[in-house]
Symmetry: C2
Subunit: 386 residues, 2 copies
């Protein structure tokens, strides 16, 4: 990746570090290395406040360059910093929400004189405001994502289960360039490529904090559960759009034959909520206000007891996206955060109709200087399969 | 899952806890919850040495039962334990290699009177000796894995890239019941469903510590890189076989047309190494001895400079498998650990031939009382495609 882009990202982190008198960061986690170094290594990026970043590589063994040092173990970093005449930090940040306790304490012990603080919130804050290049990655991802979704009707066959349809959609995503891997923040969050939810499975509560659940498999309890796709069922496809490292997010609803009138009405409520929230979503808009607008609309519609699930309802309608599917900001109650240019988020008002399945919409959006840009342009009405 | 099975697993952990005077464990990570509770929850399993386990559930909200308590936050656990008349632990173990620093310290602070220790090594040790039921899960997984691999020739089309072939094999794995999700121990280890390596890409060093690397994509640097499958290339398929939570491991080699004589010779060396190591692999065999036998054989063959990679060579020939792909034991230098009945491991001697690609073999094996059982029964010769 080009150096000015990486420097821009590092400087965003530095700016936030400076606010808290943090004079260095040691970065070891894959997504944060992708962000600050442009690729994944087994190693560390050391980011001083007032000096160029240093890269310490354990693997692979072919990476060379200015400020790149080959190491066998992290303890060698100290020695190398001293040889290079860099002062050791007074206040160092490590990725406390992401590194294991063992790895964090090992790295912390290398700096016995320093105060050690959790740097994850700072890095996530920096990552929440995307650069132009990052927004462009999302645009490209949105195009590929749309191409895959447009082919969904062509792979449906009557008598399929949700799982069989999911497998064909996964293949479409991969053939359009999808990398398959689904990155999510939080050690307990897991999902394969995304979810395909049909019928009452959409209301099945999951341990994971995604917008909807699904029974899934006992060992990965989320998403498709083998539901036969039958007449009158809706099917929501919500696959992670990771085509270039950036996790675009888009949900679309399909129907097996016709759905109940109530389902179409609920779908329209979700589209209306999307349109209203997006009308208000510009720099300065407060996340909880956007959430409350959605809640008021859904209450008026009478679908509030089925909004974002039934037995277990998600308490958000949108979330930042980036190298991980769940970034800042979150559009949820009590979130005082304001939208800023460069933020990219998914907005996903969804309603589950008993006996029918999930309806609603999800698109990815980039906040611009004076408004908002849609990143996932694809038919939003319910599409009948078969 | 049946209670006697879960009790057996918990008692294995308790037995190891007792050796170190640990009187309770608090378990929060998905694979360890799967192991001790039989399913994934957002919550905690509290395992006292001398009392039944307690389950504390945040999500999903439908889990009920004896010793199951609904909580909003982990701090409520203390109060509930006290209400139930359970003494607070003197020495508590937490999953130090798996929990984030933030989560670990939050849980540790709930027990200000207790000594807190890292329980990950104990749980991994317990998990390394599988129960009969777990071995049976591997047997079933091996059968499904074989069924998928046997169909590989049917999805090959001339002019494909490694990536396109990988996509079709991923689909076959999923259609045979594969769950897709690939669980691996270690915060920096990532891969999608496995790898398909062809030609010189097999020698490309990766940041990840898998047996072979591959260039992959800049944002997930391992596996297929778009190599066109052309005449004279070998293709190694190494997909994780997760059909029921247990990660079976199997690699097979295919050829586009005929390979060089050297490639077939190298493949035979790997088969011979497998056979020799497996002849010696029984309870009491020492892991490093098995490794050394392989190294001696490959040195005699003259392929040692291309064994387990070229520019970057993996320093192991096998690894335990279970709920994660990389469990104990590791068959590697300086590993004094002895094989024990119930251990399940993958053995994967592999050689990379420049200009041709990877050859070799990988199977999953269970150590029995007096020998070893093969779990992945599938043709081992190089199969010509097209």
């Amino acid at each position: 990746m080009v150096q000015p882009e990486l420097k821009r990202r590092r400087d965003k982190i530095r700016w936030l570090m400076d606010q808290q008198n943090i004079d260095a960061a040691l970065i070891a986690c894959n997504v944060n290395l992708l962000y600050t170094y442009g690729e994944i290594i087994s190693g560390y990026l050391y980011l001083p406040l007032h000096a160029p970043a240093r890269i310490f590589v354990k693997r692979p063994n072919h990476i060379k360059g200015e400020f790149v040092y080959s190491i066998r173990k992290p303890e060698q970093i100290i020695e190398i910093l001293q040889e290079e005449g860099l002062p050791l930090p007074q206040k160092l940040m490590l990725e406390g929400d992401e590194l294991s306790y063992t790895e964090y304490t090992r790295l912390a012990h290398m700096f016995p004189e320093a105060e050690i603080v959790n740097g994850t919130p700072i890095i996530r804050q920096a990552r929440s405001i995307k650069t132009s290049l990052e927004v462009e990655m999302f645009r490209r991802s949105g195009i590929a994502h749309t191409k895959a979704y447009q082919q969904i009707p062509s792979v449906y066959r009557p008598g399929m289960t949700d799982r069989e349809l999911s497998i064909e959609i996964e293949r479409l995503m991969r053939l359009e360039g999808g990398l398959g891997i689904f990155r999510v923040f939080g050690q307990s969050m897991e999902i394969f490529m995304g979810s395909v939810l049909a019928g009452d499975n959409a209301a099945y509560p999951s341990p994971f904090d995604f917008a909807l659940g699904g029974e899934g498999d006992p060992t990965i309890p989320v998403g498709a559960n083998g539901t036969l796709l039958k007449e009158g069922y809706s099917v929501m496809v919500d696959m992670g759009g990771n085509f270039n490292g950036y996790m675009g997010d888009m949900s679309r609803v399909f129907s097996i034959g016709k759905l109940s009138d109530e389902a179409y009405a609920a779908h329209q409520v979700c589209l209306d909520i999307q349109n209203e929230v997006i009308n208000l979503a510009k720099p300065g808009a407060v996340c909880e206000d956007l959430y409350n607008v959605a809640i008021e609309m859904v209450k008026k519609s009478g679908f509030d007891d089925r909004f974002m699930g039934i037995h277990q309802q998600a308490r958000f309608i949108g979330h930042g996206i980036g190298l991980e599917i769940n970034e800042m900001p979150v559009i949820a109650p009590r979130m005082k955060q304001e939208l800023e240019p460069g933020m990219v988020f998914a907005l996903e008002p969804k309603i589950v109709i008993p006996g029918v399945g999930p309806v609603g919409i999800e698109n990815s959006w980039a906040v611009t200087v004076d408004g908002i840009e849609k990143l996932t342009n694809c038919e939003e009405e319910i599409i009948e399969l078969g």
